[in-house]
């Protein structure tokens, strides 16, 4: 099992609420990522970070935001959740160029 953790695992929340999905890794990896996995199971990169104070948007446009204040922590925030945000969110990290990404167990978000 990789040392990357996501909380909560499951979240059901009402429309308009602000939420933060947590992701932490203990491997000292500089690179971290958020992928969104839709019900059809396709995965798309929504955010990435190369290190502290570095964040970029990924290929898939997302209304979420991220921050990277500490190497080990890469939280994702939705200011106002909508049903269209219902999805599974996977956090990942990696170290050296060309090496594998390690994934967390994911947060399954349902907005009602």
């Amino acid at each position: 099992e990789a040392d990357i953790y996501q909380t909560p695992r499951y979240l059901v929340i009402g429309t308009g609420k602000k939420i933060t999905l947590e992701c932490s890794q203990t491997m000292g990896h500089d690179k971290m990522y958020w992928y969104q996995q839709d019900p059809g199971m396709e995965l798309h990169l929504i955010h990435y970070s190369y290190g502290v104070n570095s964040t970029e948007k990924g290929d898939l446009s997302s209304e979420s935001t991220v921050s990277r204040i500490r190497t080990e922590h890469f939280p994702l925030t939705l200011e106002s959740a909508r049903p269209s945000h219902t999805s599974q969110y996977l956090c990942a990290s990696s170290r050296a160029p060309g090496t594998e990404a390690f994934f967390g167990q994911g947060t399954r978000l349902t907005v009602v």
Partner: protein, 115 residues
């Protein structure tokens, strides 16, 4: 931009038999990395196998091996002696060199191993 295509949304195989999952990709890059990831139901995505495009030799990890055809842009995964624990979603993924280790995924193949 890179694209990754997995043409088999679902597959099934009998326990102990061999199955091959297909993956094709499109890129103009000359060097890159290819991966197969496994996502068991409600569990973490884990790496199955990794291939560097500049290496001609096909990667192998125990019962898992790949058939990498660079000219054809094909990267299939062969699972030998299938086990019930191999039941999972399998994703083929592409990583461009010097691009921050970001992955482009295929749509996935759901593999069911039957007893």
């Amino acid at each position: 931009a890179q694209t990754v295509t997995q043409s088999q949304p679902e597959m099934s195989v009998q326990e102990a038999e061999t199955v091959t999952l297909s993956c094709t990709y499109d890129t103009s890059e000359s060097n890159y990395y290819l991966f197969w990831y496994k996502q068991p139901p409600s569990r973490q995505m884990i790496l199955v196998i990794r291939q560097e495009a500049y290496k001609q030799q096909n990667a192998t990890e125990n019962r898992f091996s790949v058939n990498f055809q660079k000219a054809a842009k094909s990267f299939s995964l062969k699972i030998s002696d299938s086990q019930l624990g191999d039941t999972a979603m399998y994703f083929c993924a592409f990583m461009k060199e010097h691009a921050g280790n970001m992955l482009t995924f295929g749509g996935g193949t759901r593999l069911m191993v039957k007893p």
